[in-house]
Symmetry: C2
Subunit: 265 residues, 2 copies
């Protein structure tokens, strides 16, 4: 395999091409080794508040790219188009989810000043976990990762506030420390876990009923491990009600050409 | 010495008090172990561009705090007042330096929507260099650190662009590697050097004529070592000409209560 700064044999571009042509499944496990990103786009008038919210909450909102108003091609993925290269989008009016779509071209036409934020996604480090022999239960089961709202408030910024959202991976107890060690090296894609075990302590009452994604598969001896999640801005949109926003659908990410190593410490 | 999260025996508050009462010298060497910060404040209409410029240029512009429009008390220094607690300010109109002042209360009165950015300063890690036995020539000579414009362009953001500014410390050749190692641990205050030796390669023709601060003291066997500098936004203000801006005067920083360890990796 020829590996260079534009990704492993162009697997990023290939994956985006498939998605642009209509593939709509979650992206966990796709294009391993390349950075995947969450999308939140808001009108220019709300862009400072959103950028400040991300800057003040770097664990759930590690910014990997911010596009100028109206732009749709990320420098992390030359030739990409944010309007078509994500498997699913959520459209929000005044903080209320209005619809889920798979092509956002029309959205950008009616909202030409949207400022797009790409936020690192923990799918990025899953390949590192797999390489270390740590099972990714949701991948093995062909499911989306389970995600939960917590009772932990993010630090507000201007008009934007909201609670932390986390993703959960059940990890065999003897491998939890190794999972922490591996993911700590990737602060730009959420880094080390924010919580290990004891879901109730962060306001999660029922692991089997995630707020986003699919129910988890938990094996005997697994410990639930929680990472800060890039769906957090969607909870903030619900809590803060900007007049308009468009996001990715949870689990359906933007795949860049950027090798994860770029963001490894 | 009693050390807690609010600083060593309140040395931050004591230093700010002295400055508020009129002390106007450069802050290198003051309140060792506490984070010092550069100031750039712009009208709310320019705040997104400035925040994005900082986010895209984290080496010269590592953000340690952003204040809401009109706010003047940083969470990094409870009880502080940005209008009075910096030894010197520069006032900019349309990118042109208009005046240097020591009290900015009137500025905030006439520009009530200013958004203030505090950007990490390399003075923060000087105490770590001293502890390692590395001489800080400008401190020893009682001078301000020399700073230079370079020919390296920053990544633009919206209406803001400009060239990188660096600070320079002459380091004995056998200690250069150690200086890199120590400062690399502090990415929030510019981190490792951006250039070592060969000033001409980054567009610096004459080390004895810095663009900001005082002429350097260079001993035999010293190598010039360059760190990204928080004066970079001032060069961007000159190049980009926002209608108004206020900054600190180079070398005269805002002293926080935050121990440098908070930002050590």
């Amino acid at each position: 395999m020829n590996r260079d700064r534009t990704g492993r044999s162009g697997t990023g571009a290939v994956a985006r091409e498939r998605i642009r042509a209509g593939a709509a499944e979650p992206t966990s496990g796709l294009a391993p080794g390349l950075v995947q990103a969450n999308l939140i786009a808001v009108p220019a008038d709300w862009a400072f508040d959103m950028l400040l919210f991300a800057q003040r909450n770097p664990k759930p909102c590690p910014i990997v790219d911010v596009l100028e108003p109206g732009q749709v091609e990320s420098i992390l993925a030359p030739g990409s188009d944010l309007r078509t290269d994500i498997p699913g989008y959520r459209v929000w009016n005044n903080g209320v989810l209005q619809e889920e779509i798979t092509d956002a071209t029309e959205v950008w036409r009616t909202h030409p000043d949207l400022v797009s934020f790409l936020i690192g996604c923990s799918f990025t480090f899953e390949s590192g976990l797999v390489e270390a022999g740590i099972p990714i239960r949701h991948q093995e089961a062909g499911r989306n990762v389970p995600m939960y709202r917590t009772s932990t408030a993010c630090r507000p910024a201007g008009r934007i506030s909201g609670d932390l959202v986390v993703s959960m991976r059940p990890i065999p107890a003897h491998q939890v420390a190794e999972a922490v060690r591996i993911t700590d090296r990737f602060p730009a894609v959420h880094g080390a876990p924010v919580h290990i075990g004891e879901p109730a302590q962060i306001g999660i009452d029922d692991l089997d009923s995630p707020d986003f994604g699919d129910a988890p598969v938990i094996a005997d001896g697994d410990i639930p491990v929680f990472w800060a999640c890039g769906v957090t801005p969607q909870a903030a949109v619900q809590a803060s009600a900007p007049p308009f926003a468009i996001t990715h659908s949870p689990g359906k990410m933007f795949i860049t050409d950027e090798p994860e190593d770029t963001f490894r410490q």
